[in-house]
């Protein structure tokens, strides 16, 4: 699996693009776009800005999703900060604002920062969080020192390096935007190419290694793509907020889907939407900085997802919890009623009796009884007491039977049952093989704990239990 073939393919991809670029030239390429815009009646500058920031939004969201899933979200933050000294150094060496060189410098120092984090975590006593924080602050401190040297340099006073701190899409010229767009497209292309490999690397690197995939090399590739996305984002959204572009779309998308194949496009779409929306809003409203507006847009989507997503959202969770409580209360009521009936054959009880059986208040017991009445499980007798209907008795029998089997199972098979303690009792027959279920039933009968049917049974008890459990 190792072999140099995939890496040669990546290099070839880069070479072809570089050759094309040299042949055509940025000027001519942009000229074509300009003509196309003119003929379509679109404003060229706006199209360029939106295309650049949109592609940036997609690529950072996609590669950032992997970081989120691998619990490495904040490495993006550190890398964004670690890029600053590279930018300043590139400027000091080139003595001019060559956007490509600045980004190359940023890439180099960003990758260096990421590697320092891995090294500190693996070969020293420093834990990952401290390593991230150290790289972040120390590299950035170095960046500040170098930037001040740039600003003291007569040619550097207007280098525009401050733009990298908070980001400013307005300051970018067409060539810059082209570079951002091309890099983003390449990141997406590589993620698409290495889809299967990245999935395996993220989910189970140990298994990947046993399958002969070159795990360290893949890891470095993924890291480099993360740094590349970060670096092209810096001039647009700035150092601090770049982390948000990487993290928030992935977190938001995770609420809606359980499949990576769907999560990546969704995360990309959220990145695209917030980048384009944010850029647009800040271009029409005076004094609205681009980066923060993009991030706030993404944060709004994330907040919405967090509450409203169907399965993983907080609202869905609350509903589920309420339903669960309701179900447990209903089962407890039926069990209490049955057990009271089992003890006293006169078979009608008061709400006080029920409340006494559980730690319920009488009012609670009344409420539950009324609800059960509405379901037709209990009815009031002439003297205001409560008794199970036939339907209620049948359901109570099922509940009690399942519950007692479950108790017995937990007691007698505790060593293998540890796995199921959080399970619902009436799922029993899905979990246990039939022979074991029959054994347990026999044991229950031996112990005299098998609930006796007091009315002629209309269905076989176990079938009834199985049907109820579904």
């Amino acid at each position: 699996m190792s072999g140099p073939a995939p890496w040669l393919a990546v290099l070839a991809l880069a070479a072809v693009q570089a050759a094309l670029f040299a042949l055509v030239g940025a000027e001519r390429l942009l000229g074509w776009v300009q003509t196309a815009c003119a003929s379509a009646g679109l404003p060229y500058n706006t199209v360029m800005v939106l295309a650049g920031s949109g592609l940036l939004g997609v690529s950072s969201a996609v590669i950032g999703s992997y970081a989120v899933l691998r619990r490495r979200s904040l490495i993006g933050d550190a890398v964004a900060h670690a890029a600053l000294p590279g930018i300043a150094l590139a400027y000091l060496m080139a003595r001019e604002r060559n956007f490509f060189l600045l980004l190359l410098g940023a890439l180099v120092s960003g990758v260096l920062g990421a590697m320092v984090i891995s090294w500190l975590r693996q070969s020293t006593r420093t834990r990952q969080d401290a390593a991230i924080g150290l790289v972040l602050s120390v590299f950035f401190g170095l960046g500040i020192v170098l930037t001040s040297a740039v600003q003291r340099d007569p040619s550097g006073a207007h280098a525009g390096l401050e733009g990298f701190l908070l980001g400013k899409t307005a300051g970018l010229v067409s060539q810059d935007l082209l570079l951002i767009a091309v890099t983003s497209a390449n990141i997406l292309l590589l993620v698409w190419l290495f889809q299967k490999e990245f999935l395996l690397l993220s989910f189970d690197p140990g298994f990947a290694a046993v399958q002969r995939w070159p795990v360290p090399a893949l890891d470095i590739l993924m890291m480099t793509l993360l740094v590349a996305a970060t670096v092209i984002g810096l001039p647009a959204v700035g150092v601090v907020l770049m982390a948000a572009m990487l993290i928030i779309p992935g977190v938001a998308a995770r609420f809606w889907t359980d499949r990576l194949a769907a999560l990546l496009p969704l995360s990309g779409a959220i990145g695209l939407g917030s980048a384009v929306g944010g850029t647009y809003v800040s271009s029409i409203r005076e004094g609205m900085p681009t980066g923060p507006v993009i991030v706030l847009a993404a944060a709004a989507v994330c907040l919405f997802s967090m509450f409203a997503a169907p399965r993983r959202g907080i609202a869905a969770g609350v509903v589920r919890r309420l339903q669960m409580q309701e179900r447990v209360a209903r089962q407890n009521l039926l069990r209490s009623l049955y057990e009271l009936v089992e003890e006293s054959p006169d078979s009608a009880v008061t709400a006080e009796d029920v409340a006494g059986k559980r730690s319920w208040s009488v009012a609670d017991a009344m409420k539950l009884l009324r609800r059960a009445e509405a379901r037709g499980e209990v009815r009031r007798t002439m003297d205001g007491r409560w008794t199970l209907t036939d339907l209620g008795l049948q359901r109570a029998l099922d509940v009690v039977r399942a519950h007692r089997l479950w108790e017995l199972y937990l007691v007698e098979q505790a060593s293998i049952a540890a796995d199921h303690v959080d399970r619902d009792a009436d799922e029993l027959e899905h979990i246990l093989p039939p022979e074991m279920l029959h054994q347990l039933e026999d044991r229950l009968k031996q112990k005299g704990r098998w609930p006796e049917d007091r009315v002629p049974a209309s269905v076989h008890p176990l079938e009834g239990a199985a049907r109820e459990g579904r």
Binding site: P6, L69, S202, G206, Q211, D258, L263, A418, I431
Partner: protein, 268 residues
């Protein structure tokens, strides 16, 4: 095994007569503390082999070091007569359940399909054939109805069976399984056992890290008793004796522990 599975095995990489797994003089240290001393092992083909020993005896480490997942301080490992690094395509692996994030957004079928990635190679996407093979493996562990579920919605036993199905999809000659019976329900335990026996009947070799002494005799043919070093290994009926067990568990070899401490202290 299906016909494709038989076909998938590259016969020429298996030197005739060489044992499926041979470990020579392997020592492994964590943080410079030796956890395995001078392991020498030669395992027979077509058997179910249990590695047993007390907690901290290095059972999982033995598997991981053999596979190269943790570095070996010394020693060499051969699979069918060649270094294991060259023979990984013959190996199937079931890691411990806790080794991955079960909240990861993949479906049951996705995970099983990963077993096929090895033979797909770079860039190629799994196709219909791989999907069918993966579904076959899921059927073997009776999880075909769960193929589309996200993996966190499974019980622990079902998760373990997913890992087993993934290993089956690797179509290997030699399987390493790290505690597949740990914390699983009765149904899963039975299902796993059935599959192990089926693998054996097809001549596969399965090395299992096992924690329950009660079931060793019933489930396995061959046993490796481990406590930082190999105390004994061989067919169950010869080796699984009270004395050997006492040597493995009872003796505890406190001085061996202390010696490991000494090594760590001196080499920090």
């Amino acid at each position: 095994m299906t016909a494709t599975q038989e076909k998938g095995i590259v016969e020429d990489t298996i030197a005739s007569g060489a044992p499926p797994l041979e470990i020579h003089d392997m020592t492994v240290a964590y943080q410079r503390r030796p956890v395995l001393w001078d392991i020498d092992l030669q395992l027979p083909e077509g058997r179910l082999i249990a590695i047993i020993g007390p907690n901290g005896a290095g059972k999982s480490t033995l598997i991981k070091a053999a596979l190269g997942l943790v570095p070996r301080a010394s020693g060499r490992v051969e699979v069918y007569g060649k270094p294991i690094e060259k023979q990984l395509s013959l190996i199937g692996y079931v890691p411990q359940r806790e080794s991955v994030d079960w909240d990861f957004p993949v479906s049951v079928l996705d995970v099983v399909m990963m077993g096929r990635y090895g033979r797909l190679g770079w860039f190629r996407r799994p196709g219909r054939e791989d999907r069918d093979a993966a579904m076959d493996c899921l059927r073997k562990v009776a999880l075909q109805d769960f193929a589309g579920r996200q993996i966190s919605q499974l019980s622990g036993g079902q998760q373990q069976r997913v890992f087993l199905a993934r290993a089956l999809a690797q179509e290997a000659r030699l399987y390493f399984m790290d505690e597949p019976f740990a914390g699983v329900d009765a149904a899963t335990e039975q299902a796993i056992l059935t599959i192990l026996q089926e693998l054996r009947s097809h001549g596969r070799t399965v090395v299992v890290v096992h924690h329950s002494l009660q079931t060793v005799r019933e489930y396995f043919d061959h046993v490796v008793l481990l406590n930082m070093r190999v105390v004994a290994h061989g067919p169950i009926e010869e080796v699984f004796t009270e004395e050997n067990l006492r040597n493995t568990y009872g003796g505890r070899l406190p001085l061996l522990e202390q010696a490991a401490d000494a090594v760590q202290r001196r080499s920090v």
